[in-house]
């Protein structure tokens, strides 16, 4: 009888433990970022960053085939979609790396250039250049018809020289 009671108590206790454990969120690979970004004084965007609106004028224009639609504009960041026949084929962006300085590192390891600026490919869909050691201009393909060479060609259509003078 005693052993049955012991057994029951153990069962109830372990169920409680299991229940409590299950009601907690499992550890995540993003826990470190969550902890760091919520610590006192942490910020993803610095005050000295350029406003997103200042970047708009350096984007390439659309034409009869390619439609350019501005899609996001936040401090230090502007983004536009490129569409053909209503279909999204690429994302164009300019960002101020003073908000995320680690983004610069990849350019230091690269020897390739576009219009004279350090260039890298990123993942399977992105190509980027670094202008004036500060502004990252990036194009990401959203459709397989828009190739790496398309990205390179469109990157050179940005007013990179104008952007390099932006202080």
């Amino acid at each position: 009888m005693i052993s049955l009671r012991k057994y029951l108590v153990a069962l109830i206790l372990s169920s409680c433990l299991l229940f409590t454990a299950c009601s907690q969120q499992a550890p995540s690979r993003f826990d470190d970022a969550q902890q760091q970004s919520t610590s006192k004084g942490a910020t993803a965007v610095v005050d000295t960053s350029q406003s997103g609106g200042t970047f708009n004028r350096y984007f390439p224009d659309g034409n009869s085939q390619y439609e350019r639609i501005y899609s996001q504009e936040k401090k230090g960041f502007a983004e536009a979609k490129l569409k053909v026949g209503g279909k999204e084929i690429a994302i164009l962006s300019i960002s101020d790396t003073s908000n995320n300085p680690s983004a610069i590192a990849k350019f230091k390891e690269s020897s390739s250039k576009i219009s004279g600026y350090p260039a890298v490919t990123q993942g399977s869909s992105g190509t980027a250049v670094l202008v004036a050691d500060r502004y990252q201009v990036k194009i990401r393909s959203k459709d397989s018809s828009f190739s790496e060479s398309d990205r390179q060609a469109w990157l050179s259509k940005f007013d990179l020289r104008g952007l390099s003078k932006l202080k």
Binding site: F30, A44, I69, S93, A103
Partner: protein
């Protein structure tokens, strides 16, 4: 209550009354909405990338951006959550055992539901529309240099955002208010005063985020916003050839009800779904991930 963006996206349900309702509307915006859940899965879907190190970098940056209150993402999430939570007494728990088959809106379930008066329903529709506008600006800023750029960005809705708007037109417009729901909402807005607005529970929840200062100013802002999106809604209804009858057919894919109980159907969907929060979380995650990948 989850606080991190990855938990919010990880915790989105694969299947509940909300997803069943949204799926039933698929033929209205064919293929636009896929119920992508899970933060890493969303990064993969949005970027098409598979490299784990790159996914980590994108996710980390997205977490940082979301947690910086100055960036507006938290406010947008709060708006999507709050506008959908004014009354969820008949939540998923009560219906959990019914999910899997069609939900019969008869007998006991029907007696638990009280249809909203038309005025309250018209206000709910208008406020949800304004919340969408405010959340859009919180998430995307005001893109471009001209009004035309901004309207272009708004008109470029697709995916889960388009599904959210389709659901708004269908289950908060056509079903409770009928084919002339736009006119009814407009006449409600022009016929009420600040006191009426203040007593609306949906407004009470999100009031602080609606521009306009006092209640009178907020009412004006809601009226103007509704007026400016009216054209888009009219076009949407006519281009999809939408009518209450058509929407009823769609909804009968997951809900059993008789055609003369449309006000009950609207009230049931109101209390048992959170489609604004569900698709709003998906929209926000997508925009955040796009920006994060651009910035890393």
């Amino acid at each position: 209550m989850s606080d991190s963006i990855f938990e919010l996206v990880d915790n989105l349900p694969q299947k509940n009354v909300t997803t069943m309702m949204l799926k039933s509307l698929d033929s209205i915006v064919p293929g636009e909405w896929e119920n992508t859940v899970g933060f890493v899965e969303t990064i993969r879907k949005v970027t098409g990338e598979t490299d784990e190190e790159l996914i980590q970098q994108i996710g980390d940056r997205a977490v940082w951006l979301y947690n910086d209150k100055s960036q507006g993402y938290r406010r947008a999430m709060w708006l999507y959550q709050t506008v959908d939570r004014s009354d969820k007494a008949l939540g998923s728990a009560a219906l959990a055992n019914k999910v899997g088959n069609k939900i019969p809106l008869v007998g006991g379930l029907l007696s638990k539901i009280t249809p909203n008066p038309e005025k309250a329903q018209a206000l709910d529709l208008s406020i949800k529309l304004v919340v969408e506008l405010v959340a859009f600006c919180q998430i995307n800023g005001i893109p471009g240099d001209s009004i035309g750029d901004f309207v272009g960005a708004l008109g470029d809705y697709s995916g889960e955002s388009l599904m959210r708007m389709a659901a708004l037109v269908c289950v908060d417009g056509l079903i409770p208010l009928g084919p002339d729901f736009i006119l009814k909402a407009q006449s409600t807005l022009s016929g009420i005063g600040p006191k009426d607005l203040e007593s609306n529970s949906t407004f009470q929840g999100v009031s602080e985020s609606i521009p306009g200062g006092n209640s009178k100013g907020k009412l004006d802002f809601i009226g103007e916003s509704f007026g400016s999106v009216k054209g888009w809604m009219t076009d949407f209804v006519s281009s999809k050839n939408l009518s209450p009858e058509k929407v009823v057919k769609n909804l009968q894919g997951f809900l059993e009800f008789s055609d003369n109980k449309l006000d009950y159907v609207a009230a049931f969907i109101d209390v048992s779904t959170n489609y604004y929060e569900h698709t709003g979380t998906q929209t926000l995650a997508r925009r955040l991930i796009e920006r994060a990948f651009d910035e890393i």
